[in-house]
Symmetry: C2
Subunit: 526 residues, 2 copies
């Protein structure tokens, strides 16, 4: 595949005419060719028109055809070969191993959703047979299936240029659900986006899907994205990025003549609670694990552990001592973009100059461009609570430890937090009683609760929840990782007294798709 | 139970201090005692504080206890006896038989949700067991269950003073999901509301649920409702009513520091497509069935057939002739409130004075207060499309027939419509090909599609969808009737590497709740 600096509108590829974007190699600061001229209302309209034309056809593709299409996308991405990895390395500053792993994850997601499509659980088929003799009124024959919501706008994320970008989780789950996708590519990795976009375009053609099933637009600033979200054809939005960006899309979506759902994954500081028995018994190991999680990928994960809560005492002192030593060995890593690095530096400067915050330790510094110096800071529960500045996410390898006077303060701190993607407990058996008291609060605050692990590393599986109350996401009822992500792009339709000739396969008596169904209130497996 | 003019805050009952409301008997115009002084911020705060305190306890009640509580509410409502029916008749103008039926429906809903709670499908349990030996990285043990969203604000509807009011579908599904409920009672039937509220209060006490599980507030105007929806404790809103009311709540909810979902069921004109073969073969029967559906309950149903689409010709002429004759026999029925009757009269006057609309027939008139005179009107597809006034719901027994030149115009008209709760096809075998072309459009436009029935009469069952794209509802992904309504009040939480000692019953290996689960990607029934 070639990198030509073009947008993909259905089966066409065209150059934009508006203000251009150009990727920067964050490791060196150098500009990367080519230039990507931005799209305009005209290209948004074209992509949306094609998506609208594709929708009724694409959403009714047979499960096997749609699953094979998802698998073909995975194959086409792999077939891009090392060109993809090399370009993604240049555009993101991420190391080869990480990007190869991320490619595997991206393909794994697509293949998992192929399995989801084949299983058909997501259709949630329910059949309530007619009861013609029921008194006082007969019951009609009623059948429910989920259908696709409509064309979806997906915004690529900067921190997962493969797994949460053009061919990432939002795209995979929307396509799996039967929704055409229009991607607004992230301006930090346009070349990577174009390569993956062309892979998807090739899969669309090879599998005979309608061309409007996929399009991809570029645009400097927010105009193209805003125009896309406001377009009447678009019926849902997937976004991973900043709180400011996500809430801006939420506002646009809520103010449309027809409001639509926005699935924005935005902001989380991922509290880690170090419980006393665990801290006493395993403080050193926990400190080492924690610093590993904190520093991984220069801390540029939504689930980076940005907050540690622990009770005062020897255990905590030892933890801090070991963590400080571990930090000293953390190399300065390249951050994804100059903008992210700048925001990180400013956030850390705010912490350092905060009168109630003390530095515990720092990682290595570097004079190379866009490097992240890891850092750990400490304050007290009293000083933390109510100080909005200290609750804000600092995207990068920085974390703040909260000293608590006692275990009661764990709950007080937890109750004071905004919504989170994750909450973590480091605990031993002696901590179970205290944990039991804390878990209900954590359930109200987070989408995933971990015991004795660290929040980075989000498994792509059936039981994953990568979500949580606002501002972690815009919609706590959903997950953006794992098979449950497909539910975001569906809506139920009930068919009353339909003749079999007009029924979709999913709701036919004979169950030709071998679906799990609820028939007359009873669960049935095929 | 006594009617004392009091709000219910947890286990207390208190009189408000703000501007009062007083019910009107719409059949006579007379005021009904007592006066209900409105609540204020103080009562909203009290109810919310109690709900917040109740939440962690109530949401973890065992399925059997929660199911028994829902059944107890049904029993307590029945135990109100004829007092409830008499009061509801006086406040709503609805006939005894309708209200007795609606009471049965209300109890049926509560009992259905007891069954939903016992089955536990709504928990959507997924277990991905640990894979400690997986390379390159082990997999943690991951378990998902749905938990309750939080305290829910429910707005009673005027047109179902029992089934969609204080103890109606929104309350039943929210309580079933584990959410405490605070009802803002509808000002049109405060006495009915107080009776049902006291029945729920009694069930809370009898079943030993925390008192904050249920509260009920009154308020003149929109202040109490707006304050409630803006309260940080409230995590979701259920509403059935006008488009103006629903969109006002959506705006409040979207502008909170933490936005929350609003489930507003608002506005639908429920198109009925008369397909040529059916019209030719059964025009008379269809006309009779149609007028029955149109006039039922003075047309005061969300699913009232407010729009009929048919191709020009003898079949349609005959349909209109029969419908006009049928209409002549339709008695003038009492409408729910003077406000509704006034809005209906104005809507009908707009139709009558519209230069492109002709009257087909009318029901009987009456000089008694608040009576609804049914009416049928006709226009052409060309005149209908693009005329926003003609697409607006006229709540009551009025319907507009659209003459189409040919079948192609069916699709054009359908595509021009806003979101609907229902769409109906009257069709015979000869119409199947044309119907097949139309169904995809209807799926995009409506939550329920019926063949050879009429949209009034919404079955409470597993497969029902009482929902649809905006403005039919605020959230097309949901239903407010049927067992799926519980999904509105849930969110998934993932538990990673939890010790069994800290796991909820729902996710224990031994499956003590006998749940349908997805284990390692495989469906399992208990």
């Amino acid at each position: 595949m070639q990198i030509l600096g073009e947008m993909l509108i259905g089966s066409a590829s065209i150059k934009g005419k508006k203000a251009p974007i150009q990727a920067v190699n964050p490791a060196t600061g150098e500009l990367l060719e080519p230039v990507y001229a931005g799209g305009s209302q005209a290209e948004v309209d074209q992509a949306c028109e094609l998506a609208a034309a594709a929708f009724d056809i694409y959403r009714e593709t047979l499960p096997e055809a749609r699953a094979a299409f998802l698998e073909e996308i995975a194959d086409q991405i792999l077939a891009l070969g090392d060109d993809l990895i090399v370009r993604a390395m240049a555009e993101s500053g991420l190391p080869r191993m990480r990007l190869e792993g991320e490619r595997g994850r991206t393909m794994g997601q697509l293949r998992m959703f192929a399995g989801v499509v084949r299983s058909g659980n997501y259709l949630d088929v329910r059949i309530d047979p007619a009861m013609p003799d029921r008194a006082p009124l007969p019951r009609a024959d009623l059948r429910l299936r989920n259908i696709a919501l409509g064309p979806v706008a997906v915004f690529g994320a900067s921190n997962f240029p493969l797994a949460f970008s053009v061919g990432g989780g939002d795209t995979a789950s929307a396509l799996a659900g039967g929704c055409p996708v229009i991607v607004k590519a992230h301006s930090a990795h346009p070349g990577t986006s174009e390569l993956v976009g062309r892979a998807i375009q090739a899969a669309v053609a090879k599998c005979g899907m309608p061309e409007g099933t996929f399009s991809m637009l570029f645009g400097s600033g927010r105009d193209v994205g805003a125009t896309l979200v406001a377009h009447p054809t678009i019926k849902a939005v997937g976004f991973t990025g900043s709180r400011a960006g996500g809430t801006a899309l939420m506002t646009i979506a809520a103010n449309r003549p027809e409001p639509i759902p926005v699935y924005a994954e935005m902001s989380s500081i991922n509290p880690v609670f170090l419980m006393p028995n665990a801290l006493a018994a395993r403080g050193e190991a926990i400190a080492k694990g924690f610093v590993g999680s904190l520093a991984m990928g220069a801390g540029q994960f939504c689930t980076n552990p940005g907050l540690v809560i622990a009770v005062e005492g020897e255990g905590l002192d030892h933890f801090l001592q070991v963590a400080a030593t571990e930090l000293e060995a953390v190399a300065a890593q390249t951050m994804l973009t100059p903008g992210i690095c700048d925001a990180y530096s400013k956030g850390v400067d705010r912490l350092k100059s905060h009168t109630k915050v003390t530095q515990v330790g720092e990682g290595q510094a570097s004079t190379d461009p866009n490097r992240c110096q890891a850092g750990l800071y400490v304050t007290t529960a009293a000083d933390f609570m109510g100080d909005e500045e200290l609750c804000e996410e600092i995207f990068g390898a920085s974390s703040l430890v909260i000293r608590c006077a006692n275990l009661d303060e764990f709950k007080t701190v937890a109750e004071s937090l905004e919504g989170q993607l994750t909450a973590t407990l480091q605990l031993d058996e002696g901590d179970y009683a205290a944990a039991r008291a804390l878990v209900p609060t954590l359930e109200r605050r987070a989408g995933r609760i971990l015991c004795n692990g660290f929040p980075t590393g989000v498994e792509v599986c059936q039981a994953m929840v990568h979500g949580g109350p606002f501002p972690a996401t815009s919609d706590a009822r959903t997950t953006s990782v794992g098979s449950g992500a497909i539910n975001r792009f569906l809506r139920p339709v009930c068919y009353q007294d339909f003749p079999a000739e007009l029924m979709a396969d999913a709701i036919q008596d004979s169950n030709p798709l071998a679906l799990r169904r609820l028939v007359d209130g009873q669960n049935e497996l095929a």
